[in-house]
């Protein structure tokens, strides 16, 4: 890990962090300033250290906050379960086509979100084949549906954030030395054991990165809930959206954003401690 000190690390960080400082930190400060304002759009906002904005944000939108984290958590878990075997296959069986498969994973992003979702709506339509089968299998009630349900929202998030899980996972899996897997097998580890005791631990950095890249943006997502959910599935992102655009209540929107960020950061810190990858990921 960290070896030579001196100016080098700062030189490396320099350009990137400068960029973030200029185009993320500064706006963030404006945002913070806004989050402490009071007043209304019609009569203008004044800066009054209005901490109550934060309090309101937390108290009034507990449900949406919790819902966001639950949905994001579920989606992250699903994404992990779905993509791990896939990228495992790519990493160890992909041969020279590895990169092609990687590209295929992000390919859905080439047609924009709306089109993707329209396509899904087509596939999962109440009258569609999928739903039909599920109904025949009595997984769905005869009048049951997939669209406009929590299932749909979580599924939508899962699908749309899958690449953010898959690619980091791949990155970590791809550099595992196969000789270690051989050694494990030599020591009587069944395929499952090899996976649990060697492959998985060695891929933890990837799991760590993947889960964060999925969970964090997912927690702030609003579009899936809007297009695939009913009013009862709306997440904190939708609230912020409507506060900002429809109600033009900028302080509230800003305060909510900071609340969300705070929760996420705390989560990240705790998570990395728990997973012990702080050490790993440096």
């Amino acid at each position: 890990m960290g070896r030579r000190r001196g100016s080098t690390p700062y030189l490396l960080l320099g350009p990137g962090l400068a960029w973030l400082a200029a185009f993320f930190l500064v706006p963030l400060v404006l945002l913070a300033y806004q989050s402490l304002q009071s007043g209304s759009f019609d009569f203008g906002y004044q800066f009054t250290w209005e901490f109550s904005n934060y309090w309101d944000a937390i108290t009034n939108y507990k449900t949406q906050l919790i819902r966001s984290f639950v949905y994001a958590g579920l989606a992250t878990l699903l994404a992990l379960l779905i993509s791990y075997p896939l990228v495992y296959w790519i990493a160890f069986r992909g041969g020279r086509w590895k990169n092609l498969f990687l590209l295929a994973i992000i390919a859905p992003f080439f047609v924009t979100y709306l089109i993707r979702t329209l396509a899904w709506q087509n596939i999962l339509a109440d009258q569609g084949m999928v739903v039909g089968i599920l109904r025949d299998l009595h997984i769905l009630a005869p009048d049951g549906r997939l669209l406009a349900t929590s299932t749909a929202v979580v599924a939508g998030i899962t699908y749309n954030f899958l690449p953010f899980m898959a690619l980091p996972l791949y990155v970590a899996l791809e550099q595992i030395d196969p000789r270690l897997l051989e050694a494990a097998q030599d020591l009587y580890a069944s395929r499952l054991r090899v996976f649990l005791r060697v492959t998985l631990p060695l891929s933890l950095p990837g799991v760590f990165a993947g889960t964060l890249l999925t969970f964090i943006p997912a927690a702030g997502d609003f579009i899936n809930a809007q297009l695939l959910g009913t009013p009862n599935q709306h997440m904190i992102g939708n609230v912020i959206q409507s506060k900002f655009l429809e109600l033009i209540d900028y302080p509230a929107a800003a305060a909510l954003s900071f609340v969300l960020m705070a929760f996420i950061l705390v989560g990240v810190a705790a998570y990395s401690r728990a997973l012990g990858t702080e050490r790993l990921t440096g």
Partner: protein
């Protein structure tokens, strides 16, 4: 997996697996253009210590890897006991390997590395810790059990690899240069440990080593490989005293090979015209051969022995136990060692004339044509 199922059945009919030994039957393995192992057939009796010797790149590791189940032979079959294991995954073979590249688990402590195999067999708690620490003791790694592999020196890592395999008392232990990174003292110590374990538990060892003394002192049987094939196989003394090919002769310790023609049984006329007696006479008259004689079997002066050679000292160098002389004769340059303990061992200056003699018993004959192939 294909074979696995079928094997399950087989094992039912097969004899109990205890009497396991290793048998390779016409095994061949090539990597794209390279033929690493070439129609290899060999049998390792149960509980024996089998050493695999051979030049770098001759296919030793590949052979072990096939026995361990990490490579599928292109052709031929491998048996553990009476059981054909071709296609059986490594974890289903009661075989452990000390890998040439160690392959220690970087994310696990030394303790967990060694404990790995035991845990797979549901050994837990005190018993586990006991065996692991005992084994770490045997390889002189007390108190390092909480370190990670990268915090160990090369030799220490190698010993962890050794411990990790030994601790499981498998039926067959495959060692790919398990002691290569250890100093002489430690190596001797480990050799003893291995021998003990073998006697106590009767493990079958297949041992790849570059240290000929190691092979000589430890092995019941030595196989000398060359280019994916076995060149000669037998007990250490035989290989050393009676190499059947010049390759083996040269490979096991320095050899002086004097080209000549078989005159009549027991007699060989060297290039210089000088005739020497040799003990094994089963070579046909007129064949081109080489007479081989080990450096330490050449005596200085000494009329007491049947065969004599004349030459002049070309070089002299000191090698601890003995002094080494390079002597040039009409039949080529010879190497000989003189024990320093002998009176006037190091006395001969380069340039001095020297009389050499050797016992027909000490000489051996190999086919001269093979000389090239090394």
């Amino acid at each position: 997996m294909t074979a696995v199922e079928s094997l399950r059945d087989e094992t039912n009919v097969a004899a109990p697996a205890q009497q396991a030994d290793v048998r390779l039957d016409g095994v061949t393995k090539s990597f794209d253009d390279v033929v690493a192992v070439d129609d290899l057939t060999v049998e390792v009796p149960k509980g024996s210590f089998f050493a695999l010797l051979g030049p770098s790149g001759c296919g030793k590791t590949t052979t072990l890897r096939m026995i361990g189940g990490f490579e599928e032979p292109d052709a031929g079959a491998i048996f553990l006991g009476d059981r054909a294991v071709t296609g059986l995954p490594p974890h289903k073979r009661d075989v452990n390997t000390v890998f040439q590249s160690y392959a220690l688990f970087p994310h696990l402590t030394i303790f967990e590395n060694v404990a790995f195999g035991l845990r797979r067999r549901r050994i837990k708690g005190k018993q586990l810790a006991g065996r692991v620490h005992e084994m770490l003791g045997l390889v002189d790694l007390h108190g390092m059990d909480q370190r990670k592999p990268r915090q160990l020196s090369g030799g220490q890592q190698q010993r962890v690899a050794l411990a990790r395999a030994l601790v499981n008392n498998p039926q067959v232990l495959l060692l790919d240069e398990p002691l290569g990174a250890l100093d002489l003292k430690l190596r001797k110590q480990m050799q003893l440990t291995l021998k003990q374990i073998q006697h106590e538990i009767g493990i079958t060892f297949v041992h790849v080593t570059h240290d000929q003394e190691e092979a000589m002192t430890m092995a019941d049987t030595i196989a000398v490989m060359n280019g994916g094939r076995i060149e000669q196989l037998g007990p250490p003394e035989d290989l050393y005293e009676r190499p059947r090919t010049s390759f083996v002769a040269r490979f096991l310790g320095a050899s002086n090979l004097l080209p000549g023609t078989v005159e009549e049984n027991g007699r060989v006329r060297l290039r210089s015209g000088h005739v020497v007696e040799v003990s094994d006479g089963a070579v046909e008259r007129g064949t081109e051969v080489a007479v081989g004689i080990r450096p330490e079997k050449l005596r200085v002066g000494g009329e007491q022995l049947a065969n004599r050679l004349r030459g002049t000292v070309a070089e002299r160098s000191y090698v601890g136990v003995a002094t080494q002389y390079i002597v040039s004769t009409a039949d080529g340059t010879l190497t000989l060692f003189v024990q320093n303990a002998e009176p006037g061992a190091g006395s001969l200056e380069p340039g001095a004339d020297i009389d050499l003699s050797f016992d027909p018993e000490a000489a051996f004959v190999v086919d001269h044509t093979q000389e090239e192939d090394t």
